[in-house]
Protein backbone atom coordinates (compact mmCIF):
# COMPACT_ATOMS: atom_id res chain seq x y z
CA UNK A 1 0.00 0.00 0.00
CA UNK A 2 1.29 3.42 -0.91
CA UNK A 3 -0.46 6.45 0.55
CA UNK A 4 -0.26 9.45 -1.72
CA UNK A 5 -2.12 12.45 -3.02
CA UNK A 6 -3.60 11.48 -6.34
CA UNK A 7 -5.47 13.40 -8.98
CA UNK A 8 -8.50 11.69 -10.51
CA UNK A 9 -6.78 11.52 -13.90
CA UNK A 10 -3.71 10.06 -12.26
CA UNK A 11 -5.76 7.42 -10.46
CA UNK A 12 -7.22 6.44 -13.83
CA UNK A 13 -3.74 6.11 -15.34
CA UNK A 14 -2.45 4.14 -12.38
CA UNK A 15 -5.49 1.86 -12.58
CA UNK A 16 -4.81 1.28 -16.25
CA UNK A 17 -1.17 0.46 -15.56
CA UNK A 18 -2.12 -1.90 -12.74
CA UNK A 19 -4.55 -3.63 -15.10
CA UNK A 20 -1.81 -4.11 -17.70
CA UNK A 21 -2.42 -1.29 -20.17
CA UNK A 22 0.82 -0.71 -22.07
CA UNK A 23 -0.30 1.46 -24.96
CA UNK A 24 -1.85 4.89 -24.93
CA UNK A 25 -2.72 7.02 -27.94
CA UNK A 26 -4.40 10.35 -27.42
CA UNK A 27 -5.18 13.82 -28.61
CA UNK A 28 -5.28 16.74 -26.17
CA UNK A 29 -8.68 17.96 -25.05
CA UNK A 30 -9.74 19.76 -21.88
CA UNK A 31 -10.40 18.24 -19.34
CA UNK A 32 -8.99 14.87 -20.46
CA UNK A 33 -5.52 16.25 -21.20
CA UNK A 34 -4.19 15.34 -17.77
CA UNK A 35 -4.72 11.66 -18.56
CA UNK A 36 -2.51 12.06 -21.63
CA UNK A 37 0.07 14.02 -19.64
CA UNK A 38 0.38 11.37 -16.96
CA UNK A 39 0.42 8.58 -19.52
CA UNK A 40 3.20 10.25 -21.50
CA UNK A 41 5.33 10.12 -18.37
CA UNK A 42 4.22 6.72 -17.10
CA UNK A 43 3.91 4.54 -20.21
CA UNK A 44 7.62 4.48 -21.12
CA UNK A 45 8.51 3.88 -17.46
CA UNK A 46 6.62 0.60 -17.50
CA UNK A 47 7.84 -0.47 -20.94
CA UNK A 48 4.72 0.73 -22.71
CA UNK A 49 4.14 3.27 -25.44
CA UNK A 50 2.62 6.71 -25.62
CA UNK A 51 1.87 8.41 -28.89
CA UNK A 52 0.10 11.66 -29.53
CA UNK A 53 -1.95 11.18 -32.64
CA UNK A 54 -3.18 13.70 -35.16
CA UNK A 55 -6.82 13.52 -34.11
CA UNK A 56 -9.30 11.50 -32.06
CA UNK A 57 -10.12 9.05 -34.84
CA UNK A 58 -6.41 8.40 -35.19
CA UNK A 59 -6.02 7.94 -31.44
CA UNK A 60 -8.71 5.33 -31.23
CA UNK A 61 -7.54 3.64 -34.43
CA UNK A 62 -3.97 3.44 -33.11
CA UNK A 63 -5.28 1.90 -29.88
CA UNK A 64 -7.17 -0.65 -31.98
CA UNK A 65 -4.00 -1.46 -33.91
CA UNK A 66 -2.04 -1.93 -30.69
CA UNK A 67 -4.79 -4.11 -29.25
CA UNK A 68 -4.66 -6.36 -32.32
CA UNK A 69 -0.92 -6.60 -31.78
CA UNK A 70 -1.71 -8.08 -28.36
CA UNK A 71 -1.17 -5.07 -26.11
CA UNK A 72 -3.86 -3.69 -23.81
CA UNK A 73 -4.61 -0.24 -25.14
CA UNK A 74 -6.31 2.89 -23.93
CA UNK A 75 -7.25 6.37 -25.07
CA UNK A 76 -9.06 9.28 -23.42
CA UNK A 77 -11.15 12.16 -24.56
CA UNK A 78 -14.05 14.40 -23.71
CA UNK A 79 -17.46 15.20 -25.32
CA UNK A 80 -16.35 16.70 -28.66
CA UNK A 81 -13.55 14.15 -28.97
CA UNK A 82 -15.92 11.35 -28.05
CA UNK A 83 -18.14 12.50 -30.91
CA UNK A 84 -15.21 12.14 -33.31
CA UNK A 85 -14.31 8.75 -31.92
CA UNK A 86 -17.77 7.29 -32.43
CA UNK A 87 -16.83 5.92 -35.85
CA UNK A 88 -13.91 4.00 -34.41
CA UNK A 89 -15.89 2.83 -31.37
CA UNK A 90 -18.39 1.28 -33.76
CA UNK A 91 -15.56 -0.37 -35.69
CA UNK A 92 -14.03 -1.76 -32.51
CA UNK A 93 -17.40 -3.16 -31.47
CA UNK A 94 -17.92 -4.76 -34.87
CA UNK A 95 -14.35 -6.06 -35.04
CA UNK A 96 -14.51 -7.19 -31.38
CA UNK A 97 -11.29 -5.39 -30.51
CA UNK A 98 -10.78 -4.54 -26.82
CA UNK A 99 -9.95 -0.87 -26.21
CA UNK A 100 -10.54 1.21 -23.10
CA UNK A 101 -11.80 4.74 -23.56
CA UNK A 102 -11.79 7.24 -20.74
CA UNK A 103 -14.33 9.98 -21.24
CA UNK A 104 -13.88 12.99 -19.01
CA UNK A 105 -17.23 14.74 -19.28
CA UNK A 106 -17.53 18.40 -20.08
CA UNK A 107 -20.19 20.92 -20.88
CA UNK A 108 -21.71 21.01 -24.36
CA UNK A 109 -23.08 21.06 -27.00
CA UNK A 110 -20.32 22.01 -29.39
CA UNK A 111 -17.27 23.38 -27.67
CA UNK A 112 -19.49 24.35 -24.74
CA UNK A 113 -17.49 25.42 -21.73
CA UNK A 114 -14.30 23.44 -22.01
CA UNK A 115 -13.36 23.74 -18.35
CA UNK A 116 -16.93 23.24 -17.18
CA UNK A 117 -17.71 19.77 -15.91
CA UNK A 118 -20.91 17.96 -16.88
CA UNK A 119 -22.45 14.51 -17.27
CA UNK A 120 -23.66 15.02 -20.80
CA UNK A 121 -22.30 11.88 -22.43
CA UNK A 122 -24.70 9.33 -20.91
CA UNK A 123 -26.56 8.66 -24.14
CA UNK A 124 -23.63 9.45 -26.43
CA UNK A 125 -21.65 6.65 -24.83
CA UNK A 126 -24.17 4.05 -25.91
CA UNK A 127 -25.98 5.52 -28.89
CA UNK A 128 -23.10 7.40 -30.50
CA UNK A 129 -21.96 4.79 -33.03
CA UNK A 130 -24.16 3.72 -35.93
CA UNK A 131 -25.83 0.35 -35.81
CA UNK A 132 -26.98 -1.67 -32.83
CA UNK A 133 -24.10 -1.53 -30.43
CA UNK A 134 -23.53 -3.11 -27.04
CA UNK A 135 -21.72 -0.90 -24.55
CA UNK A 136 -20.10 -1.30 -21.19
CA UNK A 137 -19.67 2.02 -19.39
CA UNK A 138 -18.74 2.48 -15.73
CA UNK A 139 -18.77 5.69 -13.74
CA UNK A 140 -16.72 6.29 -10.58
CA UNK A 141 -17.72 8.60 -7.71
CA UNK A 142 -14.43 8.91 -5.91
CA UNK A 143 -10.79 8.95 -6.86
CA UNK A 144 -10.12 5.62 -5.24
CA UNK A 145 -13.01 4.15 -7.19
CA UNK A 146 -11.67 5.71 -10.39
CA UNK A 147 -8.59 3.52 -9.90
CA UNK A 148 -10.57 0.34 -9.39
CA UNK A 149 -13.15 0.97 -12.10
CA UNK A 150 -10.40 1.62 -14.62
CA UNK A 151 -9.00 -1.79 -13.72
CA UNK A 152 -12.49 -3.18 -14.19
CA UNK A 153 -12.95 -1.43 -17.55
CA UNK A 154 -9.69 -2.94 -18.83
CA UNK A 155 -10.67 -6.37 -17.55
CA UNK A 156 -14.15 -6.25 -19.05
CA UNK A 157 -12.87 -4.98 -22.40
CA UNK A 158 -10.56 -7.97 -22.54
CA UNK A 159 -13.02 -10.58 -21.34
CA UNK A 160 -15.83 -9.50 -23.64
CA UNK A 161 -13.64 -8.31 -26.54
CA UNK A 162 -15.44 -5.02 -26.83
CA UNK A 163 -14.57 -1.37 -26.18
CA UNK A 164 -15.47 -0.13 -22.70
CA UNK A 165 -15.88 3.42 -21.49
CA UNK A 166 -14.93 4.89 -18.14
CA UNK A 167 -17.52 7.63 -17.96
CA UNK A 168 -16.11 10.23 -15.63
CA UNK A 169 -16.29 14.01 -15.31
CA UNK A 170 -14.03 17.01 -15.18
CA UNK A 171 -14.99 17.44 -11.54
CA UNK A 172 -13.55 14.07 -10.63
CA UNK A 173 -10.64 13.89 -13.06
CA UNK A 174 -9.24 17.17 -11.76
CA UNK A 175 -9.88 16.43 -8.11
CA UNK A 176 -7.12 15.34 -5.74
CA UNK A 177 -7.43 13.10 -2.77
CA UNK A 178 -5.22 10.87 -0.66
CA UNK A 179 -5.51 7.30 -1.85
CA UNK A 180 -3.95 4.05 -0.72
CA UNK A 181 -2.74 2.31 -3.83
CA UNK A 182 -2.40 -1.46 -3.80
CA UNK A 183 0.62 -3.47 -4.84
CA UNK A 184 0.06 -3.75 -8.59
CA UNK A 185 1.21 -7.35 -8.62
CA UNK A 186 -1.83 -8.24 -6.53
CA UNK A 187 -4.41 -6.55 -8.75
CA UNK A 188 -6.57 -9.13 -10.50
CA UNK A 189 -6.26 -8.84 -14.27
CA UNK A 190 -8.18 -10.62 -16.96
CA UNK A 191 -6.93 -11.53 -20.41
CA UNK A 192 -8.79 -11.81 -23.68
CA UNK A 193 -9.69 -15.33 -24.80
CA UNK A 194 -6.78 -16.56 -26.93
CA UNK A 195 -6.68 -19.54 -29.29
CA UNK A 196 -5.04 -22.71 -27.99
CA UNK A 197 -4.96 -25.13 -30.91
CA UNK A 198 -2.49 -25.26 -33.77
CA UNK A 199 -2.35 -22.09 -35.89
CA UNK A 200 -3.36 -24.15 -38.92
CA UNK A 201 -6.69 -24.93 -37.27
CA UNK A 202 -7.37 -21.32 -36.42
CA UNK A 203 -9.62 -19.82 -39.06
CA UNK A 204 -10.48 -16.33 -37.85
CA UNK A 205 -11.21 -14.42 -34.66
CA UNK A 206 -14.99 -14.75 -35.03
CA UNK A 207 -15.54 -18.51 -34.74
CA UNK A 208 -18.32 -18.35 -32.18
CA UNK A 209 -20.25 -21.45 -31.25
CA UNK A 210 -23.17 -19.71 -29.57
CA UNK A 211 -24.91 -16.36 -29.44
CA UNK A 212 -23.24 -15.46 -26.17
CA UNK A 213 -19.76 -16.74 -26.97
CA UNK A 214 -16.66 -14.56 -27.01
CA UNK A 215 -14.44 -16.29 -29.56
CA UNK A 216 -10.66 -16.54 -29.15
CA UNK A 217 -8.59 -13.74 -30.61
CA UNK A 218 -5.22 -14.47 -32.20
CA UNK A 219 -2.86 -11.51 -31.75
CA UNK A 220 -0.61 -10.42 -34.59
CA UNK A 221 2.81 -11.97 -34.59
CA UNK A 222 1.74 -15.09 -32.68
CA UNK A 223 1.32 -17.32 -35.70
CA UNK A 224 -2.46 -17.07 -35.60
CA UNK A 225 -3.13 -14.97 -38.66
CA UNK A 226 -6.26 -13.13 -37.67
CA UNK A 227 -8.31 -11.18 -40.13
CA UNK A 228 -10.02 -8.57 -38.01
CA UNK A 229 -12.86 -7.07 -39.93
CA UNK A 230 -15.08 -4.26 -38.88
CA UNK A 231 -17.42 -4.63 -41.79
CA UNK A 232 -19.20 -7.16 -43.92
CA UNK A 233 -20.57 -10.28 -42.38
CA UNK A 234 -18.35 -11.91 -39.81
CA UNK A 235 -17.69 -15.51 -40.77
CA UNK A 236 -19.16 -17.69 -38.05
CA UNK A 237 -18.71 -21.20 -36.72
CA UNK A 238 -18.93 -24.18 -39.01
CA UNK A 239 -22.74 -24.44 -39.04
CA UNK A 240 -24.18 -23.96 -42.46
CA UNK A 241 -25.77 -20.55 -42.72
CA UNK A 242 -27.00 -18.38 -45.53
CA UNK A 243 -25.52 -14.90 -45.77
CA UNK A 244 -28.65 -13.50 -44.18
CA UNK A 245 -28.57 -15.95 -41.31
CA UNK A 246 -24.90 -15.21 -40.71
CA UNK A 247 -25.57 -11.46 -40.72
CA UNK A 248 -28.38 -11.93 -38.21
CA UNK A 249 -26.24 -14.22 -36.09
CA UNK A 250 -23.21 -11.95 -35.96
CA UNK A 251 -25.13 -8.74 -35.23
CA UNK A 252 -27.19 -10.47 -32.54
CA UNK A 253 -24.14 -12.10 -31.01
CA UNK A 254 -22.26 -8.79 -30.67
CA UNK A 255 -25.09 -7.56 -28.45
CA UNK A 256 -25.93 -10.85 -26.76
CA UNK A 257 -22.41 -11.54 -25.55
CA UNK A 258 -22.73 -8.44 -23.33
CA UNK A 259 -26.48 -8.61 -22.71
CA UNK A 260 -26.26 -12.19 -21.41
CA UNK A 261 -24.04 -10.92 -18.58
CA UNK A 262 -26.19 -7.90 -17.73
CA UNK A 263 -26.72 -9.03 -14.14
CA UNK A 264 -23.04 -9.28 -13.31
CA UNK A 265 -22.18 -6.15 -15.29
CA UNK A 266 -24.88 -3.88 -13.88
CA UNK A 267 -23.22 -2.69 -10.67
CA UNK A 268 -25.00 -0.40 -8.25
CA UNK A 269 -24.71 0.70 -4.65
CA UNK A 270 -27.91 1.01 -2.61
CA UNK A 271 -28.06 3.15 0.53
CA UNK A 272 -31.11 2.77 2.75
CA UNK A 273 -33.39 1.88 -0.12
CA UNK A 274 -35.13 -1.00 1.73
CA UNK A 275 -37.74 1.26 3.31
CA UNK A 276 -37.32 4.32 1.07
CA UNK A 277 -40.36 6.34 0.12
CA UNK A 278 -38.14 8.67 -1.84
CA UNK A 279 -35.49 7.27 -4.14
CA UNK A 280 -32.55 9.29 -5.36
CA UNK A 281 -30.84 7.84 -8.41
CA UNK A 282 -27.45 9.37 -9.09
CA UNK A 283 -24.09 8.49 -10.59
CA UNK A 284 -20.55 9.83 -10.66
CA UNK A 285 -19.82 12.94 -8.67
CA UNK A 286 -23.50 13.74 -8.16
CA UNK A 287 -23.79 10.78 -5.81
CA UNK A 288 -22.31 12.96 -3.07
CA UNK A 289 -25.06 15.61 -2.97
CA UNK A 290 -27.65 12.82 -3.27
CA UNK A 291 -26.24 11.06 -0.22
CA UNK A 292 -26.05 14.31 1.75
CA UNK A 293 -29.66 15.07 0.76
CA UNK A 294 -30.68 11.62 1.93
CA UNK A 295 -29.16 12.25 5.36
CA UNK A 296 -30.81 15.65 5.58
CA UNK A 297 -34.16 14.16 4.54
CA UNK A 298 -33.88 11.31 7.05
CA UNK A 299 -33.15 13.87 9.78
CA UNK A 300 -36.44 15.53 8.85
CA UNK A 301 -38.31 12.24 8.96
CA UNK A 302 -38.48 11.69 5.19
CA UNK A 303 -37.55 8.11 4.36
CA UNK A 304 -35.08 8.68 1.54
CA UNK A 305 -32.67 6.25 -0.06
CA UNK A 306 -29.99 6.50 -2.71
CA UNK A 307 -29.23 4.17 -5.56
CA UNK A 308 -25.85 4.92 -7.04
CA UNK A 309 -25.27 3.62 -10.52
CA UNK A 310 -21.73 2.36 -10.93
CA UNK A 311 -22.53 0.82 -14.28
CA UNK A 312 -24.32 3.13 -16.71
CA UNK A 313 -24.33 0.68 -19.62
CA UNK A 314 -25.79 -1.91 -19.72
CA UNK A 315 -28.35 0.11 -17.85
CA UNK A 316 -29.11 -1.39 -14.41
CA UNK A 317 -32.91 -1.20 -14.71
CA UNK A 318 -33.49 -4.27 -12.52
CA UNK A 319 -31.64 -2.68 -9.62
CA UNK A 320 -33.66 0.50 -10.05
CA UNK A 321 -36.94 -1.42 -9.91
CA UNK A 322 -35.66 -3.28 -6.87
CA UNK A 323 -34.64 -0.09 -5.06
CA UNK A 324 -37.93 1.61 -5.93
CA UNK A 325 -40.11 -1.17 -4.48
CA UNK A 326 -41.69 1.06 -1.82
CA UNK A 327 -40.92 4.40 -3.39
CA UNK A 328 -43.60 6.94 -4.17
CA UNK A 329 -41.31 9.33 -5.91
CA UNK A 330 -37.87 9.38 -7.42
CA UNK A 331 -35.50 12.31 -7.88
CA UNK A 332 -32.63 12.13 -10.33
CA UNK A 333 -29.91 14.74 -9.76
CA UNK A 334 -27.58 14.98 -12.73
CA UNK A 335 -25.42 17.51 -14.52
CA UNK A 336 -27.34 17.50 -17.79
CA UNK A 337 -30.93 18.17 -18.76
CA UNK A 338 -32.34 14.75 -17.89
CA UNK A 339 -30.54 12.00 -19.82
CA UNK A 340 -30.48 9.63 -16.86
CA UNK A 341 -33.96 10.67 -15.79
CA UNK A 342 -35.31 9.43 -19.13
CA UNK A 343 -33.71 6.04 -18.56
CA UNK A 344 -35.03 5.84 -15.00
CA UNK A 345 -38.51 6.75 -16.26
CA UNK A 346 -38.23 3.93 -18.77
CA UNK A 347 -37.10 1.48 -16.08
CA UNK A 348 -39.96 2.45 -13.76
CA UNK A 349 -42.63 2.61 -16.46
CA UNK A 350 -46.02 1.48 -15.15
CA UNK A 351 -44.99 1.68 -11.50
CA UNK A 352 -46.86 4.93 -10.88
CA UNK A 353 -43.79 6.45 -9.23
CA UNK A 354 -43.48 10.20 -9.83
CA UNK A 355 -40.09 11.05 -11.25
CA UNK A 356 -38.41 14.42 -11.45
CA UNK A 357 -34.89 15.68 -11.73
CA UNK A 358 -32.55 18.30 -10.39
CA UNK A 359 -30.50 19.40 -13.33
CA UNK A 360 -27.44 21.60 -13.55
CA UNK A 361 -25.86 22.63 -16.80
CA UNK A 362 -23.85 25.48 -15.29
CA UNK A 363 -20.95 23.21 -14.26
CA UNK A 364 -21.62 23.87 -10.57
CA UNK A 365 -22.24 20.74 -8.58
CA UNK A 366 -25.78 20.15 -7.40
CA UNK A 367 -26.29 20.95 -3.73
CA UNK A 368 -28.02 18.67 -1.23
CA UNK A 369 -30.32 21.60 -0.39
CA UNK A 370 -31.62 21.69 -3.96
CA UNK A 371 -32.36 17.97 -3.95
CA UNK A 372 -34.11 18.25 -0.60
CA UNK A 373 -36.13 21.25 -1.78
CA UNK A 374 -37.24 19.30 -4.86
CA UNK A 375 -38.21 16.35 -2.63
CA UNK A 376 -40.26 18.49 -0.28
CA UNK A 377 -41.84 20.22 -3.23
CA UNK A 378 -42.91 16.90 -4.70
CA UNK A 379 -44.16 15.58 -1.37
CA UNK A 380 -46.30 18.66 -0.84
Amino acid sequence: MTRRLLMGSEAICEGAIAAGVRFYAGYPITPATEVAEFMSARMPQVGGSYVQMEDEMGSFAAAMGASCAGVKAMTASSGPGLALMQEEIGHAIAGEIPVVLVNVGRHGPGIGNATGSAQMEVMQAKYGPNGDCPMIALSPSTIEEAFWLTVKCVNLAERYRTPTILLTEGLLALQRSVVDLPDYGKVETWERPRPEGAPSEYANPYMATSLTAVPPMGDFGTGYRSIFRTGGIQPQHGAKMTRFEAQHFSTTRLNQKVEAHRDELALTEALQTEDADVLYVAFGTQFHPARAAMQMARAKGIKAGVLRLITIWPFPDKAIRQAAQHAKLAVVPEMNLGQLRGLVTQALAGSGIRIDGVNHVNSLTITPQEILAKTEDMLR
Binding site: L5, T115, S177, V178, H288, Q369
Partner: protein
Amino acid sequence: MRMEVRFAGTGGQGLVKAAAVLAHALGVEASYEVVQTQFYSGQISGGPSCGDVVLGDSAIEYPWVMHPDILVAMSQPSVYDHSANVVPGAKVLVDDIMVTDVATIPAGVEIYWAPFTRLGDEAGFRKAANVAALGVFASFSGLLSYAQIEQAVVKLAPGNRKINLAALRLGFDARPNPHVRKLGEASAYVAPAFRGV
Protein backbone atom coordinates in the same frame (compact mmCIF):
# COMPACT_ATOMS: atom_id res chain seq x y z
CA MET B 1 -14.48 17.70 12.08
CA ARG B 2 -14.78 19.16 8.58
CA MET B 3 -12.99 22.23 7.38
CA GLU B 4 -13.12 23.97 4.04
CA VAL B 5 -10.28 26.04 2.63
CA ARG B 6 -10.31 28.06 -0.56
CA PHE B 7 -7.47 29.83 -2.33
CA ALA B 8 -9.08 32.31 -4.70
CA GLY B 9 -7.56 34.75 -7.14
CA THR B 10 -6.56 35.13 -10.74
CA GLY B 11 -5.30 32.44 -13.08
CA GLY B 12 -1.50 32.45 -13.03
CA GLN B 13 -1.16 33.07 -9.28
CA GLY B 14 -0.64 29.35 -8.67
CA LEU B 15 -3.75 28.82 -6.60
CA VAL B 16 -4.51 25.28 -7.79
CA LYS B 17 -0.89 24.41 -7.12
CA ALA B 18 -1.13 25.91 -3.64
CA ALA B 19 -4.23 23.85 -2.95
CA ALA B 20 -2.52 20.68 -4.21
CA VAL B 21 0.53 21.31 -2.02
CA LEU B 22 -1.69 21.98 0.97
CA ALA B 23 -3.68 18.80 0.30
CA HIS B 24 -0.47 16.80 0.18
CA ALA B 25 0.78 18.37 3.40
CA LEU B 26 -2.49 17.67 5.19
CA GLY B 27 -3.17 14.26 3.71
CA VAL B 28 0.26 12.68 3.40
CA GLU B 29 2.62 14.61 5.72
CA ALA B 30 -0.10 15.00 8.38
CA SER B 31 -2.86 12.42 8.53
CA TYR B 32 -6.06 14.23 7.70
CA GLU B 33 -8.51 13.02 5.10
CA VAL B 34 -8.45 15.50 2.23
CA VAL B 35 -10.10 16.24 -1.08
CA GLN B 36 -8.74 18.94 -3.33
CA THR B 37 -10.85 20.41 -6.12
CA GLN B 38 -10.49 23.41 -8.35
CA PHE B 39 -12.16 25.83 -10.66
CA TYR B 40 -10.54 27.79 -13.41
CA SER B 41 -11.61 29.44 -16.61
CA GLY B 42 -10.37 28.69 -20.09
CA GLN B 43 -7.60 31.25 -20.15
CA ILE B 44 -4.20 30.13 -18.97
CA SER B 45 -3.88 33.25 -16.83
CA GLY B 46 -6.07 36.19 -16.11
CA GLY B 47 -9.42 34.54 -15.51
CA PRO B 48 -11.00 33.71 -12.19
CA SER B 49 -9.38 30.70 -10.57
CA CYS B 50 -9.52 28.91 -7.28
CA GLY B 51 -8.10 25.89 -5.57
CA ASP B 52 -10.11 24.26 -2.79
CA VAL B 53 -9.25 21.82 -0.03
CA VAL B 54 -11.71 20.04 2.21
CA LEU B 55 -10.16 18.30 5.20
CA GLY B 56 -11.51 16.20 8.00
CA ASP B 57 -10.56 13.49 10.43
CA SER B 58 -12.91 10.94 8.88
CA ALA B 59 -13.81 10.13 5.28
CA ILE B 60 -15.08 13.21 3.46
CA GLU B 61 -18.59 12.60 2.22
CA TYR B 62 -19.10 15.83 0.35
CA PRO B 63 -16.00 16.80 -1.60
CA TRP B 64 -16.78 20.42 -2.50
CA VAL B 65 -16.35 23.64 -0.66
CA MET B 66 -19.72 25.16 0.22
CA HIS B 67 -18.79 27.82 2.79
CA PRO B 68 -15.04 28.16 3.23
CA ASP B 69 -13.88 28.27 6.82
CA ILE B 70 -10.71 29.94 5.62
CA LEU B 71 -10.72 31.92 2.39
CA VAL B 72 -7.41 33.13 1.03
CA ALA B 73 -8.20 35.94 -1.42
CA MET B 74 -5.31 36.96 -3.62
CA SER B 75 -7.09 39.41 -5.93
CA GLN B 76 -9.81 42.02 -5.72
CA PRO B 77 -12.28 40.21 -8.05
CA SER B 78 -11.95 37.07 -5.96
CA VAL B 79 -13.12 38.99 -2.87
CA TYR B 80 -16.24 40.09 -4.75
CA ASP B 81 -16.77 36.60 -6.21
CA HIS B 82 -16.57 34.69 -2.97
CA SER B 83 -17.94 37.16 -0.41
CA ALA B 84 -21.36 35.59 -0.72
CA ASN B 85 -20.01 32.16 0.23
CA VAL B 86 -18.36 33.03 3.53
CA VAL B 87 -20.58 32.86 6.58
CA PRO B 88 -20.10 34.26 10.08
CA GLY B 89 -17.36 32.47 11.95
CA ALA B 90 -15.20 32.13 8.85
CA LYS B 91 -11.83 33.80 8.41
CA VAL B 92 -10.70 35.62 5.30
CA LEU B 93 -7.06 36.32 4.54
CA VAL B 94 -6.70 39.05 1.93
CA ASP B 95 -3.61 40.16 0.09
CA ASP B 96 -2.67 43.57 1.39
CA ILE B 97 -1.68 45.10 -1.93
CA MET B 98 -3.83 43.20 -4.44
CA VAL B 99 -7.01 43.78 -2.46
CA THR B 100 -8.28 47.16 -1.30
CA ASP B 101 -12.01 46.74 -0.79
CA VAL B 102 -13.37 44.21 1.69
CA ALA B 103 -16.73 45.86 2.25
CA THR B 104 -18.64 43.05 0.56
CA ILE B 105 -17.49 40.48 3.12
CA PRO B 106 -20.39 39.88 5.53
CA ALA B 107 -20.32 40.93 9.16
CA GLY B 108 -19.25 38.28 11.60
CA VAL B 109 -16.44 37.19 9.31
CA GLU B 110 -12.94 37.89 10.56
CA ILE B 111 -10.76 39.62 7.99
CA TYR B 112 -6.96 39.64 8.06
CA TRP B 113 -4.53 41.53 5.84
CA ALA B 114 -1.59 39.39 4.82
CA PRO B 115 1.42 40.42 2.73
CA PHE B 116 1.45 37.41 0.32
CA THR B 117 2.58 39.32 -2.75
CA ARG B 118 5.06 41.46 -0.87
CA LEU B 119 6.61 38.36 0.71
CA GLY B 120 6.92 36.83 -2.75
CA ASP B 121 8.80 39.94 -3.86
CA GLU B 122 10.96 39.78 -0.76
CA ALA B 123 11.84 36.14 -1.47
CA GLY B 124 12.95 37.20 -4.93
CA PHE B 125 10.02 36.30 -7.18
CA ARG B 126 6.52 37.75 -7.05
CA LYS B 127 4.93 34.49 -8.25
CA ALA B 128 6.15 32.78 -5.10
CA ALA B 129 3.27 34.59 -3.38
CA ASN B 130 1.32 31.33 -3.42
CA VAL B 131 4.08 29.60 -1.46
CA ALA B 132 4.16 32.51 0.98
CA ALA B 133 0.39 32.08 1.34
CA LEU B 134 0.94 28.42 2.21
CA GLY B 135 3.38 29.48 4.94
CA VAL B 136 0.94 32.04 6.29
CA PHE B 137 -1.87 29.48 6.18
CA ALA B 138 0.14 26.82 8.01
CA SER B 139 0.98 28.99 10.99
CA PHE B 140 -2.30 30.95 10.95
CA SER B 141 -4.46 27.82 10.99
CA GLY B 142 -2.18 25.90 13.31
CA LEU B 143 -2.94 22.76 11.30
CA LEU B 144 0.58 22.13 10.07
CA SER B 145 4.08 22.35 11.41
CA TYR B 146 6.75 24.10 9.36
CA ALA B 147 8.41 20.78 8.65
CA GLN B 148 5.21 19.32 7.23
CA ILE B 149 4.44 22.18 4.88
CA GLU B 150 8.10 22.41 3.88
CA GLN B 151 8.14 18.75 2.97
CA ALA B 152 5.06 19.21 0.78
CA VAL B 153 6.53 22.22 -1.00
CA VAL B 154 9.77 20.35 -1.69
CA LYS B 155 7.90 17.32 -3.07
CA LEU B 156 5.19 18.98 -5.12
CA ALA B 157 6.71 22.31 -6.12
CA PRO B 158 10.10 21.35 -7.49
CA GLY B 159 10.67 24.79 -9.11
CA ASN B 160 13.19 27.18 -7.63
CA ARG B 161 13.63 25.58 -4.24
CA LYS B 162 15.66 28.45 -2.76
CA ILE B 163 13.04 31.08 -3.56
CA ASN B 164 10.17 28.79 -2.61
CA LEU B 165 11.61 27.94 0.78
CA ALA B 166 12.50 31.58 1.45
CA ALA B 167 8.92 32.61 0.65
CA LEU B 168 7.56 29.77 2.79
CA ARG B 169 9.67 30.77 5.79
CA LEU B 170 8.71 34.44 5.42
CA GLY B 171 5.07 33.44 5.19
CA PHE B 172 5.24 31.08 8.14
CA ASP B 173 6.73 33.81 10.32
CA ALA B 174 4.38 36.56 9.17
CA ARG B 175 1.48 37.59 11.36
CA PRO B 176 -1.58 38.82 9.42
CA ASN B 177 -3.15 42.06 10.63
CA PRO B 178 -6.78 41.90 11.72
CA HIS B 179 -8.97 44.31 9.79
CA VAL B 180 -10.85 46.88 11.80
CA ARG B 181 -14.19 47.57 10.20
CA LYS B 182 -15.21 51.14 9.73
CA LEU B 183 -18.54 52.15 11.13
CA GLY B 184 -21.32 51.03 8.84
CA GLU B 185 -19.08 48.79 6.75
CA ALA B 186 -20.88 45.50 5.99
CA SER B 187 -23.10 46.06 8.97
CA ALA B 188 -25.98 44.03 7.64
CA TYR B 189 -25.43 40.31 7.32
CA VAL B 190 -26.48 39.18 3.87
CA ALA B 191 -27.80 35.62 3.70
CA PRO B 192 -25.40 33.91 1.33
CA ALA B 193 -26.60 32.41 -1.90
CA PHE B 194 -24.66 29.18 -2.10
CA ARG B 195 -22.24 28.95 -4.95
CA GLY B 196 -20.60 25.61 -5.13
CA VAL B 197 -17.82 24.85 -7.52
